[in-house]
Amino acid sequence: MLSIFFRRLLIAVPVIIIVTTITFFLIRLAPGGPFDADKVVPPEVLKNLNATYNLDAPVLVQYKDYMINLAQGDFGPSFRYPGRSVTEMIFTGLPTTFELAFYAILIAIFIGILSGVTAAVKRNTSLDYIPMTIAMIGICMPTFLLGPILVLIFGIYLEVLPVSGWGSLPGDKILPSITLGAAYAAYIARLSRGGMLETLNQDYIRTARAKGLSEFRVVFNHALRGGLIPVVSFLGPAMAGLIGGSFVVETIFQIPGLGRFYVEAAFNRDYTMILGTTIFFSVLIILFNLLSDLMVLLMNPQARDNT
């Protein structure tokens, strides 16, 4: 079982190198240098700038230098914010983004599993239909629509929650977390319902029932373990999705997180920042996928034995 994990880990290393390389050379393909948008600068200043940022070296040398720095955790300086390094900016925005993602996934897991398991146990009753219809709406309603609508209702019409910000007004973390978590709550509800329905039909559940265990214990001690495997394997890809979602949510609610930095960098053509964050996000996503694979292996003996 550990061997399959290490094999995955071994695949992850070349993937990260490929991502880094592709991103590095793609950025170099971009028309126009990073200083084009500024006022016309004298040639000697431009030359100095290029020398400072190592842009006058041959591309392959730049690539080699970048990779060596990267291996030491140094993403280089930001083009747009002189004097600040990309590493510094990533670690400024990261805690906020992590906090947001953490609340969102907490909401998603709690609401999702609760309604999914209830729907499976109370199959074909209104406790099944109503949450599942809401889940379908949650899946179809994109984050960039749900967020503004929640702001409109709770922030502007009812005036009960702040419309933007993070950690500056009481309750301003509620709407962003719900906005980001909603779609995942919906997916998790559907997945846990499906997984539970399948598990509840298994022989060992029938055995547990035949032993005279209470329905509560059957569901919580026996079925949940197998029924939630689809949810766990969804968590890896969900983390990847959460990062994309954080771009939108941080833009809507003006939250100073990494996602907003990335979108701003994309607009400002802050190439080193884009390059750094892209690599950072990629590593993050690859690691999360790896982690959720490991979790699935731990939870599901069948998958363990098949390898």
């Binding site: 609508i149 502007i156 990847a240 994309a266 607009f267 892209t278 996000f281």
Partner: protein, 283 residues
């Protein structure tokens, strides 16, 4: 064709599914109005009437006008063209790449298969949303690039599904029987294997369209997608958000149209899946 009965069976089941049929009607109307937008639109989508400004829905502009005095109904109608086109074209790109890839891997098997699928595995690990943003930044906001980029992301799952199907069907007895009878390779494939993978392909393609439309709207919302004066629904929602405090209809109508469309596409896709393969129920 002998397999008529399979398809007519599926059609009968689809027709009996009310949610799927309502969705089909909505989608047909939507596609028709997108095609005939120039005849249906009450105003030009780009004509600005600055002295009019944003007005609430009225008899003249029955979904109201935006802050530049442009008719919202006409803009949503033309937005449908862009959004639906992205949905269909990018899905088509994904379909071509994914089906070809999956068929070759599944049909030939062995080393070719393991190399091709390892490539898919590696690509799966890449953060594609970030890559698309990167591409749009570097090469400008070109709509054809958008089609290609989104299509290039969505083909991976299609390749996996098609490969698994081909492998399953290749192992079935009737295919082996045909092989034993000396049916040539390409005929075996076209006549016996391909018709049987059409179902899953159709289902997955239908379910890919809403995902693609979401991705496009997401990019347009961030300002990295379709550029003015063209507008997709994502762009309209973006403008709606900017002015929602005073002019909520600018957010509500495009948002509603978009959500209903995604709803209809998902329900129709689910219905199609249930109709073509009654064994797999929706999860």
């Amino acid at each position: 064709m002998q397999n008529n009965s399979l398809w007519s069976d599926a059609l009968r089941r689809l027709l009996a599914n009310r949610a799927a049929m309502i969705s089909a009607v909505i989608l047909t109307l939507l596609i028709l109005s997108a095609i005939f937008a120039p005849f249906i639109a009450t105003h030009s989508y780009a004509y600005q009437n600055l002295s009019l400004g944003a007005t609430a829905p009225s008899a003249e502009h029955f979904l109201g006008t935006d802050t530049l005095g442009r008719d919202l109904f006409s803009r949503i109608l033309y937005g449908a063209r862009v959004s639906l086109m992205v949905g269909f074209v990018a899905t088509f790109v994904a379909l071509i790449i994914g089906v070809t890839w999956g068929i070759i891997a599944g049909y030939y098997g062995g080393r070719i298969d393991s190399i091709m699928m390892r490539i898919v595995d590696i690509l799966y690990g890449l953060p594609f949303v970030i890559f698309i943003i990167l591409l749009m930044v570097i090469f400008g906001r070109n709509i054809w690039l958008l089609f290609a980029a989104i299509g290039a992301v969505e083909w991976l799952t299609m390749a996996r599904i098609v490969r698994a199907q081909v492998i399953t069907i290749k192992g079935l007895e009737y295919v082996q029987a045909a092989q034993a009878l000396g049916v040539p390779n390409n005929r075996l494939f076209i006549r016996h294997i391909f018709p049987n993978i059409l179902g899953p392909i159709a289902v997955y393609a239908t379910l890919t369209i809403p995902q693609v439309m979401l991705l496009e709207a997401f990019l347009s919302f961030l300002g990295l997608g379709v550029q003015p004066p063209m507008s997709s629904w994502g762009t309209l929602i973006r403008y709606g958000v900017e002015s929602m405090e005073e002019y909520s209809w600018l957010l509500i109508f495009p948002g509603l149209t978009f959500t209903i469309t995604l709803f209809a596409l998902n329900f129709f896709g689910d219905g199609l899946r249930d109709a073509l393969d009654p064994k797999i129920s929706s999860d």
